[in-house]
Amino acid sequence: MKEMLQQNESITKSRRAILDRLMVMDISSPGLPTPDESMLTHFDDPLGAFVAMLESVGGAVHMLDNPHEATDILNQIDVFASAERVVSLVPEAVQSSFDVSQIKDPHDLSAVDWTIAKGEFAVAENGAIWIDGQAMPHRALLFIAQYLAIVVSRREIVHHMHQAYARIGTPKSPFGVFVSGPSKTADIEQSLVLGAHGCRALQVFLTP
């Protein structure tokens, strides 16, 4: 306890020292810019641009007329057909194989084979999809599953990241992530390997 107190004191001291050093010298600021929309990328076909981008970063894209077609497509993928533990947060597209709400500790998710997540919107310029942490019982599901699928509406596409952040507005949940393609590494001699620590592959289903 005494140690704690001492530490707190020193933190306050350092806080003051740092802020003092920063405040003693006034530097004039150029002010903050606002991006001029007319200067920014605009795609004639944002959906096409998104699909091309996502494929270029290693994602697979499927167009659906109806969300439940996702199950048929996934069943043709061996590693899905043989998967034992599937967590789906998009029940209208894919059924879960067990009840994830029973799980309290994210460590117990280590054996999850597939996570099917819901995307809020997609970004044309870089193939990213925004996932809101609030839609997930455990954020670890996105990273711990061997394979990831994201279901997102193809009507929800923004052109670039400025629009993306404007759309999020003020972040309301403790976690949110842009996912663009499967996890990857090029740390061994610049050879690209898909499936680093997160998902080994990414399937994206674009619903009407």
Binding site: S28, S29, P171, G176, H197
Partner: protein, 461 residues
């Protein structure tokens, strides 16, 4: 870092790398490939230059009002339930982290890439205090297992060949002897690190951008390691240099478009994660704000802009010296052009040779996404080092001589004549000997028959 190293100048430190077979050209090629990918990305974004000037303006405004933005950040982060700590220097940063670990009786931590914790020497400090630290970024894990330091801020193991990684993994992870297939090795690392992730009691991450307006922060990775490390354990510690701040949430639009394109030539990293407060009521989020010389650097108008750096590594990938000499030759946490600007601000004596590890080609300045005038700053450092009297004897004497020469027309033309004449007669050994380092890998030019002055006088009409 707290360990004091002897002063080793850059050419000496680069020697083992440069003379190691084809290592240098191989390294050069690997980085040039990354630079090429960056160029391709930059050229497909029509507003690239517009983004760079906005990024530069945002960072200038941030550093100008850094104190206020930090207070705003602290207030908002605290309101979200995070605990904000302030560390004046590396030592205090390490103490704060250790204290949090002790408060939770933690012996095992998983850590994602953070140049700040490298700068603070956190790994060794924690290990000395009985904590098992696992770097989870693949490149960082490789260098950690080899007891080395990262040689690049984005590509920590870029100096290693796959056979060397194979050997390291054979020794530490039990992969097949002689196996060097990157896919096989990465798979082995995935398995090995999975178990570490599951056993980690606290996750430590760096921060790419802290947002004053919201009190949140963003971490960008390709591997998903920061996310796994921060979403499994109950306690997340994020270590952040105070210059990592940006004022508004919307500013992320500018920086997320620039960062990965500049760094690895990707349109964006695979994961761009936004953390706003702890995960839930049972979790803790600690944010450690670290100064460690940054507020002092802000006072220096010549080098202040170096605080704009978003650590993309583009200046290294393009630097003709870095590409050939390798990151370890800089003997500093951050190598390359930006490292050569930052390191002397910490210790100008120890790092006095770094501003000379530069051809002043200016390529770093051209690629820097936040428009730091890197080569101007390197030149400014040379002046500063001259002023501080830190130049080596041979540089000092030759500069003095050059200055005398250029100031006196008679002496200048005499020296010209002497040079032209003697070059014609001097035997090779007289110019190429061990005292003349300049001629180690160079031949002297053919002497011209007459001076320009002479030629001009003859041909003037």
């Amino acid at each position: 870092m707290s360990v004091t190293l002897p002063i080793i100048d850059h050419p000496t430190a680069a020697k083992p790398f440069v003379t190691n077979g084809d290592r240098s050209p191989w390294h050069d090629k690997a980085l040039w490939f990354v630079r090429g990918k960056r160029d391709k990305q930059a050229s497909t974004v029509g507003e690239w230059e517009y983004l760079r000037s906005m990024a530069s303006q945002i960072k200038t405004a941030t550093i100008a009002n850094l104190g206020n933005y930090l207070v705003e950040f602290e207030r908002n982060a605290t309101a979200l339930g995070a605990t904000v700590h302030w560390a004046a220097d590396a030592e205090e940063h390490n103490q704060i982290v250790l204290q949090i670990l002790r408060d939770h009786d933690t012996k095992r931590i998983v850590k994602s890439k953070s140049m700040l914790t490298e700068e603070c020497g956190l790994n060794h400090f924690l290990e000395d205090n009985g904590v098992d630290v696992v770097d989870t970024d693949l490149g960082e894990r490789i260098v950690q297992l080899r007891d080395e330091t990262p040689s690049h801020i984005v590509l920590p193991a870029i100096h290693l060949k796959k056979e060397e990684v194979g050997e390291t993994f054979h020794e530490h992870l039990g992969t097949d002897k002689g196996a060097a297939d990157p896919k096989y090795l990465a798979e082995a690392a995935r398995g090995h690190l999975r178990s570490k992730f599951l056993a980690g009691e606290v996750g430590i991450t760096g921060v790419n951008f802290g947002i004053a307006e919201t009190g949140g922060f963003v971490v960008c990775t390709n591997e998903g390691n920061a996310d796994l490390g921060a979403s499994l354990p109950r306690v997340h510690i994020a270590c952040m240099g105070i210059e990592k701040l940006i004022p508004r949430f919307q500013d992320l639009g500018v920086f997320t478009r620039l960062l990965a394109r500049s760094a690895t030539g990707q349109p964006i990293t695979a994961y761009t994660s936004h953390f706003h407060g702890p995960r839930d009521r049972n979790s803790e989020l600690h944010i450690v704000l670290v100064d460690n010389g940054r507020s002092k650097l802000r006072h220096n108008s010549e080098f202040r802009e170096a605080l704009h750096c978003i650590r993309c590594g583009a200046c290294m990938n393009t630097c003709p010296v870095y590409r050939r000499s390798g990151g370890h030759s800089y003997q500093a946490t951050i190598p390359g052009p930006i490292g050569s600007v930052l390191s002397p601000t910490r210790d100008s004596i120890k790092h006095k040779s770094l501003p000379y590890a530069c051809s002043l080609c200016g390529s770093c300045t051209d690629v820097c996404p936040v428009k730091i005038p890197l080569h101007h700053q390197l030149l400014a450092w040379r002046k500063e080092i001259g002023k501080q009297g830190l130049l080596s004897y041979d540089k000092r004497i030759s500069m003095k001589a050059a200055s005398l020469l250029f100031r006196n027309a008679k002496v200048f033309s005499l020296a010209g004549w002497l040079g032209r004449t003697s070059l014609r007669f001097l035997p090779h050994w007289a110019t190429h000997h061990r005292f003349n380092t300049w001629t180690i890998a160079r031949e002297l030019p053919e002497p011209p028959k007459e001076s320009f002055r002479h030629w001009y006088a003859k041909n003037r009409k």
